[in-house]
């Protein structure tokens, strides 16, 4: 319910309580660490016993021929890359300019700078039009221009009806090249950020996710350090401008999609971006990733009746040639309904609604290995042991051909949902360009998935699954967790202090 989000969707999306069969939280996690879905352990024993399988008699004809439309890629002499993806289905044009450099590149003493920049850039407006005025103008046209910051990039993006697209594009370019950071809007952004900071310990899931990342990467890592009231307080308009000046000369990636004439659009983009100086790449990063200090960590929250258990370690990045194998392993472990974790902890034992996880891989730095289980306080130890047992099973219970086949079916038969819309194809190409992967990455990745063998899985589990290197984090109600966490027999339980540091009183007043 971010107020800055674009309204979209059809009317049915109205406000309702919804209870679903799969936790959105775990689904989201599953997606970020694995590909799609899954495979099962228990099944292998039973499948033979079943006689009739009527579904196998239903014909599956060859899939209709499909050649996803690739966007047109244009590399300018200055290094800037343009992508054009024409799609006339609806009368809209949208676009974005992706700028390398994000919160991992900000000064630790000013953690939160990129967040504030992402918010205040758009709300401040440009030298020719204030943000407020831009709000009015765009709302009247049901159009959007937004800015935002992420861990490794910032961006300006826009969307409008085709008839307004020239005007909206010009406004977006004005914002991109002539921002005018405004003190009042910076303060507004600081208020938003401060609200998030003081509220960050209200929700159990938020605490668990955040503190688990800190265990994996270290509290001071550029990937996890959190904004504090004391780090956002001193940030000035000049800091935002300096950040802008520092990043705007980078290797921009410009992408436009929708209802436009490609020749006209190309000419327009060239006229704007061709005259820019040679793009300067960001200096390479030299981060160190040590992974968590093994052990049991605990955060008490006495207003909950369920524990959020996170078993975490370091993952890998997509340059690793084992990633296709790990992806298949993830499906067996925790992707979907038939995964080992789901089968054991949810279906067989009824210990959790939300359970899942896998070995994560990011694009340009190690992702995280994470297994999440949410269970009632009293079964915390039991559920943790069960999850650890499933993890240990990856190395002690050899993978089977049945599991392999199932996981491959899952991944490969749903593979086309990675490029079933023109926007997804475009987003993938932009992503690959940004992280320096070849344009045919998906195809080679798919080919590699097809070749994964049971031997590969067993070898990967031995190489990557070391439960003695993992940390176990529990956020829950200590007075209800019986037996206590010492019953895990994993050594002393380390409490984590999540106290929110408050600056001196006069500053807090504001």
């Amino acid at each position: 319910m971010n107020i800055r989000e674009q309204g979209s969707g059809i009317r049915d999306q109205k406000n309702r309580f919804r209870w679903s069969v799969v936790s959105d939280r775990v689904r989201a996690l599953g997606r970020s660490v694995a590909l799609a879905a899954v495979c099962g352990l228990v099944l292998s024993a039973c499948a033979a016993a079943q006689e009739a399988k009527p579904w196998e008699k239903i014909p599956v004809p060859p899939l209709h021929a499909f050649h996803p439309q690739q966007p047109q890629r244009i590399e300018l002499k200055n290094g800037i890359v343009l992508f054009l993806q024409v799609d006339h289905e609806l009368p809209f044009v949208s676009g974005s300019v992706l700028i390398p450099g994000g919160s991992r590149d900000e000064d630790a003493a000013k953690a939160g700078l990129v967040d504030l920049y992402g918010m205040a850039w758009r709300t401040s407006g440009s030298t020719t039009m204030s943000g407020d005025k831009m709000d009015d103008l765009l709302a009247e046209k049901a159009a959007h221009i937004e800015t935002g910051g992420d861990v490794d990039s910032t961006a300006v993006s826009w969307n409008s009806l085709s008839k307004d697209s020239d005007q909206v594009f010009n406004l977006a370019m004005d914002l991109l090249f002539h921002p005018k950071f405004d003190e009042a809007k910076l303060n507004l952004a600081k208020q938003q950020e401060a609200t998030g900071i003081v509220r960050r310990n209200d929700d159990e899931g938020e605490i668990a996710g955040r503190e688990a990342r800190k265990l994996i990467y270290g509290a001071d890592s550029p990937y996890t350090r959190q904004p504090e009231l004391s780090t956002i307080g001193p940030i000035t308009v000049a800091d935002l401008q300096a950040w802008h000046d520092r990043t705007i000369g980078g290797k921009l990636i410009v992408s436009v999609s929708g209802d436009f004439d490609p020749a006209t659009m190309e000419a327009k983009l060239r006229s704007v971006f061709e005259k820019l100086p040679m793009a300067k790449p960001l200096p390479p990063r030299h981060d160190t990733f040590n992974g968590p200090t093994p052990g049991v960590y605990f955060i008490n929250k006495d207003d909950v009746n369920q524990s959020n258990i996170q078993i975490v370690g370091l993952g890998t990045d997509r340059h690793n040639p084992d990633v296709p194998t790990l992806s298949v392993m993830n499906d067996v472990l925790g992707g979907g309904f038939a995964s080992r974790l789901f089968q054991r902890i949810r279906t067989q034992l009824g210990l959790a609604y939300a359970v899942g996880g896998g070995y994560g891989f990011s694009w340009d730095h190690p992702g995280s290995f994470r297994v999440v289980v949410m269970t009632k306080s009293a079964s915390t130890v039991d559920a943790t042991k069960q999850a650890m047992d499933v993890l240990n099973g990856l190395t002690t219970t050899p993978f089977t051909e049945t599991e392999l086949k199932r996981a491959k079916d899952n991944i490969l038969n749903s593979f086309l949902f990675r490029y079933d819309t023109k926007d997804k194809v475009l987003a993938e190409r932009v992503r690959l360009e940004f992280y320096g992967y070849p344009a045919d990455y998906l195809e080679t990745y798919k080919a590699a998935l097809e070749k994964v063998t049971v031997a590969d899985l067993n070898a990967a589990a031995k190489k990557y699954i070391h439960t003695n290197k993992l940390a176990v984090l529990v956020v829950g109600n200590g007075s209800e967790i019986k037996p206590g966490l010492d019953a895990l027999n994993m050594g002393a339980v380390h409490p984590i202090d999540i106290t929110i540091p408050m600056p001196k009183h006069e500053e807090a007043e504001k």
Partner: protein, 536 residues
């Protein structure tokens, strides 16, 4: 890179699930038609879709909708059941949702090694549970020893039935065949099942979906009940906003089931049995209560006979009778205050009529003008100018739309500001609606944005299948998805003022707030206590 963090870490609440406010609706400016209105008028859009959409009502009453959108070799579907937790019988709150979970457990053909034997074993589970439950519920003379024995017998019966189960086979077949976004949701008003698949699995899907609608088997019910109890703990008990919203609704409604916990009160949810779930299925999962919409790379003329064949096996039967309860007029203002170690929050709601009411679109207009984006009145007033809130919005319908419901407002106070200030500031904005007409620009903006947002949603198989099924159910005609634009066009400034004066009155109001209260010190939390106080 990844997901853009627009607005980022600032304020993110788990209450998204309870009240995700999306802008939506549709419109075309009433007097000043934009230049391209010919292409985006309700009639023009409808004309385009008339050519793509085929509907068919089967002899059992089930409605099929097929929408051809051959952009990629995939399809999405939504099965829409016109029943949700509002239909749970008294004492069985959470039943519709429990049944939804059961619908993933397989059928007579899927998920079993020997259905005939399993059926016998499942009957024994029900008998054992009934005996255990009867003893458990005795207020007088409950025998702990007998209870323990009955519980043992119950567990033994479950273990016996479990021998025939192939766990998760239904979802396994779907996922192995490329199902993506496989899930279901139960609202107070309706239950929906959905996924997307490669188009060459359409027949497989039709077989599976019709099979589970017609031949659900109540296997592994009692373990699944434990799973749903965990779902309740996650979303409600262990979530401050979840707790607040449950109390807010329970207070706002005195008679209608909108006031009852959707996932179920713990005492009731924990005693729902499979017999009750199957009775719910028998009553509400009849053809006349079901719409199935398929959108994607499908040729209606080719596939309709196949779909008919499969979905005809869903039992027929009369449309279940509607409920008699109508929420009585509220005549006294009500207020809930939760004092706990959570940062403050404010929400209030006013009873409004259902989606059938002639003023339905007027509420959409009020929502848009009050809440949609940085031009909205609540944002500009509470967030930008007064600088007292991080977020402030009004939204409706809530918690459902089929029956008279609430128009709600909420605000998230900035550090140092109170729910009381949120309340006063929201009331000031409401008063403006009552005493002064909204501007021409605001009204035109609502209509333009509503139409554009409707259009934006049309290029999405999943969203479209969902919307078509819903409009077909709610209005008896999917065309209302587009024709609602005409109702939106008809909203006037006088309508907004009139409705605001009718609805937003103190005696029709229920409010709920969280007031921060430092926790009582215990051994466990000594470390974090300082922090909680400091953040106030």
């Amino acid at each position: 890179m990844g997901m853009m963090r627009v607005g980022s870490r600032a304020v993110k609440f788990a209450l998204v699930l309870a009240m995700s406010v999306s802008a939506m609706q549709a419109a075309s400016a009433q007097k000043t038609q934009p230049a391209d209105s010919s292409a985006t008028s309700a009639e023009a859009m409808l004309q385009k879709f008339e050519k793509k959409i085929t509907t068919k009502v089967l002899p059992n009453g089930l409605t099929l909708i097929v929408c051809e959108r051959p952009e990629a070799p995939v399809f999405s579907y939504t099965t829409f059941i016109d029943a949700g937790d509002v239909n749970d019988p008294s004492g069985e709150s959470g039943l519709a949702h429990m049944f939804e979970h059961l619908a993933f457990k397989g059928t007579k053909d899927i998920g079993t090694k020997d259905y005939a034997a399993e059926k016998v074993a499942l009957a024994k589970v029900e008998a054992a549970n009934a005996a255990y439950e009867a003893e458990y519920l005795k207020q007088v003379g409950r025998d702990p020893k007998k209870l323990e024995e009955l519980h043992k017998a119950f567990l033994a019966a479950q273990a016996e039935a479990q021998k025939y189960v192939i766990p998760n086979q239904f979802t396994d077949i779907a996922e192995r065949n490329g199902a993506t976004g496989l899930n279901a949701s139960t609202g107070l008003d309706e239950t929906m099942y959905f996924w997307s698949m490669p188009e060459n699995r359409l027949q497989l899907w039709a077989w599976m979906e019709s099979d589970r609608l017609a031949n659900t088997v109540p296997r592994e019910f009692y373990k699944e009940r434990d799973v749903v109890m965990e779902e309740r703990r996650m979303r409600t008990d262990s979530n401050p906003i979840g707790r607040l919203v449950e109390q807010f609704l329970a207070t706002a409604f005195v008679a209608h089931n909108y006031g009852r916990s959707g996932v179920g009160w713990p005492s009731e949810l924990s005693q729902i049995n499979a017999t009750e779930a199957m009775a719910f299925h028998k009553k509400y999962y009849v053809g006349s209560n079901i719409v199935v919409a398929v959108v994607g790379d499908v040729d209606a003329a080719k596939v309709m006979p196949m779909l008919e064949r499969y979905f005809s096996q869903v039992p027929g039967g009369p449309k279940p009778e509607d409920m008699t309860t109508v929420e009585p007029k509220q005549f006294a203002e009500k207020k809930v205050i939760i004092r706990e170690a959570t940062q403050p929050f404010y929400i209030e709601g006013y009873h409004r009529p259902s989606y059938h009411d002639k003023d339905d679109a007027v509420f959409d207009a009020i929502q848009d003008i009050m809440s949609n984006g940085r031009v909205s009145r609540l944002y500009r007033s509470l967030v930008r100018d007064q600088k007292i809130a991080a977020e402030a919005q009004g939204f409706s319908p809530f918690p459902g739309d089929k029956y008279p419901n609430l128009f709600a407002f909420y605000a998230v106070p900035l550090p140092g500001h109170t729910p009381e200030e949120m309340r006063a500031a929201i009331h000031k904005e409401i008063d403006k609606l009552k005493t002064t007409d909204v501007t021409d620009e605001e009204l035109a903006m609502f209509k333009t944005r509503a139409r554009a947002d409707l259009l934006r949603g049309l290029a999405d198989n999943e969203g479209l299948s969902n919307a078509l099924a819903m409009y077909q159910t709610r209005y008896g005609d999917w065309r209302q998805l587009f024709l609602q634009l005409n109702r939106i066009d008809a909203v006037t400034k006088a309508d907004i003022r009139r409705v605001a004066n009718e609805i937003f009155v103190p005696s029709n109001r229920t409010s709920a707030e969280i007031d921060f209260a430092a926790p009582a010190a215990t051994a466990h939390q000594a470390a974090s206590q300082k922090n909680d106080g400091g953040a106030e």
